[in-house]
Symmetry: C2
Subunit: 121 residues, 2 copies
């Protein structure tokens, strides 16, 4: 039942029909949302075991250690889950140059929506 | 192409196969992640038009004006999109009592994961 999931202190992550759970990655220092990705059970297990963020790449259909090639790894400071345990928030300390976005920016969220257009900030 | 999506200043939100886009809702004041939900095109349109957060409820399969029954509406301060425009970050000023989570808490993310158990904070 949903109410059990909300109040339990047992971690029971709910993966979707594709075996994935959304992960909101924030900077543990100032709370900035850095990126958003999905984890499968193995990515979550490796994230917890190694302390470095791992995800599941839907486009490549493969396990993905964030920063494995770029050096922009993300050290996990803590993981939160939401009321019904179907979303994770991963608070991280960015390593490397601190550029979590593959475009070379600190955060993937670098554009503001103004109606039908975007502006950089 | 992905690179176009990353640098364009045209807003081209990419909805998934179910017509949905993830929305990370943060407090515009201090950046706290308050909740996570999905929008379809109509929810996004209404959010932009009214300035109040609307979502698509997957469990109820219906459009959902956040706070319509509880009074806990979310006034949108700004909307960001990510590099490949398939995720939104919605910065809000919570109205009502400021309890965005349906459990009566400020945020849905009120438990920390410690291995296989959770702790409240």
């Amino acid at each position: 039942m949903a109410s059990d999931l909300e109040e339990t202190l047992a971690f029971q992550p709910r993966f979707d029909a594709n075996g994935l759970i959304p992960a909101i990655v924030t900077d543990a220092g100032d709370g900035t949302v850095l990126m958003f990705a999905f984890m499968n059970a193995e990515a979550l297990r490796l994230s917890q075991k190694t302390g470095l963020a791992h995800f599941w790449s839907r486009s490549r259909q493969s396990l993905w250690k964030k920063g494995e090639t770029s050096g922009e790894t993300l050290r996990i400071v803590e993981i939160l889950t939401d009321c019904d345990q179907d979303v994770l928030q991963v608070k991280v300390a960015p390593q490397g140059r601190g550029l979590a976005c593959h475009t070379g920016r600190r955060s993937c969220f670098y554009r503001r929506v103004d109606g039908g257009t975007l502006s950089l900030f």
